[in-house]
Each structure stands twice: as C-alpha cells, then as structure tokens.
C-alpha cells in the first residue's frame, strides 16, 4: 500500500497522499499474549493528551484567586458541570467525572490533531466507536439495572396513541441501536474530513508556487474552522452521551 501511495504521489503531482496522515505506525511492537498491543503513533498522542490534560488540571496548588491555567481548568469544570446538571439533573452528578473525562479526552485529541505532523486519535473510527459503544452499552446496562424492564418504556413515549405504537416502537428501537454508530461516525467523519481537506489544500499551496497564496488564505480560514470543529465535536459527543445516560436515569420524560 505504501509503495502504491508513493507511486501515486510522483505520478499525480501531489507531494503527499492526504490519507497518509491517518496511517498507524508501530513505534514499539509489543505482543501481549496473542494480542498486538504495540505502542503506535496513535498511542503516543493518546498518552500525550492524557499528560497535557493532567498537567492542566493537576499542576500547581489550587488557589482561592485563580491564575490563568487554574481559571481554564475551572471554566472547563463549570462548563461540564452545568451541562451534566442541565441534561441529567442532580442524579447525573455521579456521571460527571466520566463525562468530564470523555469531553477532555476527545477535546485534547481533536486539538492535538491540529498540530502539524501530529496524529489525530479521534480520526479513527475504531477509537470513536469504542468510546461511543462504551457510553451506549453503559447507559443501556445502567438503564435496565435502575429501571428493570421499565426501561423498555423508552421505546413507547407516554401520550402516544395506541394506533401509532406499531410504527413508532420499531422506529424508536432502530434509532436507539443506531446511537453508537451515529455518535462515533459523527466525530470520526468530522475529524477525518477536516484533516483530509487541510492536507489537500496544503498540497495545493506547495504545488502551485506563488499562486499557492490563494489556497494558503483558504487554509488559514479552514484551520480556524477546524479548531472550532474540534471544540464543537467534543461538546456534541459529551452532550449526546449525557442525553443517552439521562434516558437511562429517566426513561419516561
């Protein structure tokens, strides 16, 4: 595949294949039993992200009058805290650390992806799908644990006419089962599309010589947009997770 790409690059005039940035490279091959647990470039950026988030939120003593970094941490805390309270109510408090971790993990992965030559962890469907599936499975199991079979009332919202039920219930069930897919594909597709686009325009800048100023200007705009998307997608991922967990907490709303 690599040879194929190089051939394409030299023949097509593009310096780089835009999909090359998503390549997984094994930096440190590790075999764990029969399992491939190699430390890859993806792992590197995950570890770096966790390190940076921890640095931001753990470093320094917490003061009554906050400094800049502490303010950022507190703003993030209050932001997610309000989101959890608004979507799930007071019962949702116990899920706050999980939602916060989810948001920070996705956010730092998206933002680190904006660093040139970095790797975007969330541009891989398997990563976003694993996160989405964790949320969805967790919410489903918790919903049955808390409400028993009453959780199934989620598929028949109160006030629905009996005649509508045969149509509505299958729709609700299908929409419920597509939740992890839509949640993960939304994030993955946004990240992948954005980064591919940036790469393509970057290649144009290099290929067009002095006329490359035009795609360069476009790229500056796109970079700003991508940073916005990085925040937005992390927020959407977190708030949808809140809503799914809220369904488990209160199936009849």
């Amino acid at each position: 595949m690599a040879a194929n790409q190089e051939g394409q690059g030299s023949e097509g005039g593009l310096a780089l294949d835009p999909m090359h940035q998503f390549e997984i490279e094994r930096l440190l091959p590790i075999k764990f039993g029969g399992l491939d647990a190699s430390f890859t470039n993806s792992s590197l950026w995950m570890v770096l992200g966790v390190f940076l988030v921890s640095l931001l939120l753990l470093a320094g003593s917490k003061k009554i009058v906050p400094g800049r970094l502490q303010s950022v941490g507190e703003i993030l805390f209050e932001f997610i805290s309000n989101m959890v309270r608004d979507t799930m109510g007071e019962e949702g408090r116990k899920f706050f650390p999980f939602i916060f971790t989810l948001f920070m993990f996705v956010l730092i992965s998206n933002l680190l992806g904006m660093v040139p030559y970095s790797f975007t962890v969330t541009s891989h469907i398997i990563v976003t799908f694993a996160l989405a599936l964790t949320v969805w499975l967790g919410a489903t199991i918790y919903g049955f644990y808390k409400n028993g079979l009453g959780y199934l009332k989620l598929f028949a919202p109160p006030g629905t006419p009996m005649a509508m039920l045969p149509i509505l219930v299958p729709i609700e069930i299908i929409s419920y089962f597509t939740r992890p897919i839509s949640l993960s594909v939304r994030l993955f597709a946004n990240m992948m599309a954005g980064h591919t686009m940036l790469k393509v325009f970057g290649a144009f800048v290099a290929a067009l010589g002095w006329a490359g100023i035009v795609p360069l200007v476009v790229m500056v705009g796109f970079t700003g947009l991508e940073i916005l998307v990085a925040f937005l997608q992390a927020f959407i991922f977190a708030i949808l997770s809140c809503m799914y967990i809220n369904d488990a907490l209160h199936p009849q709303h």
Binding site: I126, L131, M192
Partner: protein, 162 residues
C-alpha cells in the same frame, strides 16, 4: 483508508483503554475533587465576606442611629437650657419692672400730694388776694375802704351765685 485496517484495531483499543482509564482515575480521584473544593471554598469565602460586610454595615447603621439620637437629645437639652435661661431672665425683668413701677407710683403719689397741698394753699391765698384786690378796687372806685367782713360776705355771695 487506513482507518479500516483491522490489524490496527487491537493496539488502538488497548491503548485507548489504558489512557482513558488513566485519565478517568486521575480526574475522578484527584483533579475534579480538588477543583470542586477550591470552587466551594471560594463560594464559602465570598458568602462569608458578604455576611461580614452586611454585619459591618448594620453596625455602622446602628452607630449612625445612636449618634443621631445623641445629637437629637443634645439639641433638646440645649433647647431646655435656653428656655430656662429665657424664663429666668423674663422673671427678673418682670420683677425689676414691678420694682420700678412701684417706685414710680410712690413718686407720683408724693408729687400728687404735693400738688394737692400747693393747690389748697394757693386757694387759701386766692381768698386773701381777692379781698385785698377787691379792697383796693373799691378804694380806687369810691374812695372808701370797705371792712374785711363786708368783702368776705360779698365774695361768698358771688361764689354762691355762680
């Protein structure tokens, strides 16, 4: 698309699990409680400071009220003192005036007595002067000196006719 390479799934999932769980433990155990604490502490501190400020304000209000009360009392006392002084002075002036009035009345009555004496003395003299004048007039008119008795009888009758 490199994302669909199944061979890359296992290492990504394993490292995702490791890093995500690590981050979760760090956040849930250390970072979030710390931040929650400091926010809570700040909220407490602010409400405590506000309470203290309200306390101080009510103290100030009390002090102002007591000051104003003292001021009003002092003003009232000053009024009372001034009134007393005025009353005392008025009484003294009244006494003095009565004194003077009395003295004046005494002098007036003495003078009146003197005037009455003088008047009665003068009236007595008037009779004698009238006798003398009449005697002289009669003497000049008829050349005869009337007796004292005749003159006084004539005066008395004249006074009666009036």
């Amino acid at each position: 698309m490199p994302q669909l390479d199944v061979h890359d799934f296992a290492p990504q999932l394993i490292w995702l699990a490791i890093t995500f769980v690590t981050l979760y433990i760090l956040m849930a155990r250390t970072a979030l409680p710390k931040i929650a604490n400091v926010i809570e502490e700040r909220r407490d501190r602010i409400s405590r400071d506000l309470d203290e400020a309200a306390q101080l304000k009510s103290d100030t209000d009390k002090a102002i009220a007591s000051y104003e009360q003292a001021l009003a009392e002092a003003r009232q006392k000053a009024h009372a003192i001034a009134q007393e002084a005025r009353d005392k002075l008025n009484a003294e002036i009244e006494r003095e005036r009565q004194d003077v009035d009395r003295k004046i009345a005494e002098k007036v009555s003495a003078a009146e007595a003197r005037i009455a004496d003088a008047t009665s003395a003068a009236l007595e003299h008037v009779n004698a002067i009238a006798q003398e004048t009449i005697g002289a007039i009669v003497d000049t008119l008829i050349g005869a000196q009337p007796s004292q008795d005749e003159i006084s009888a004539a005066i008395n009758s004249a006074q009666k006719q009036k």
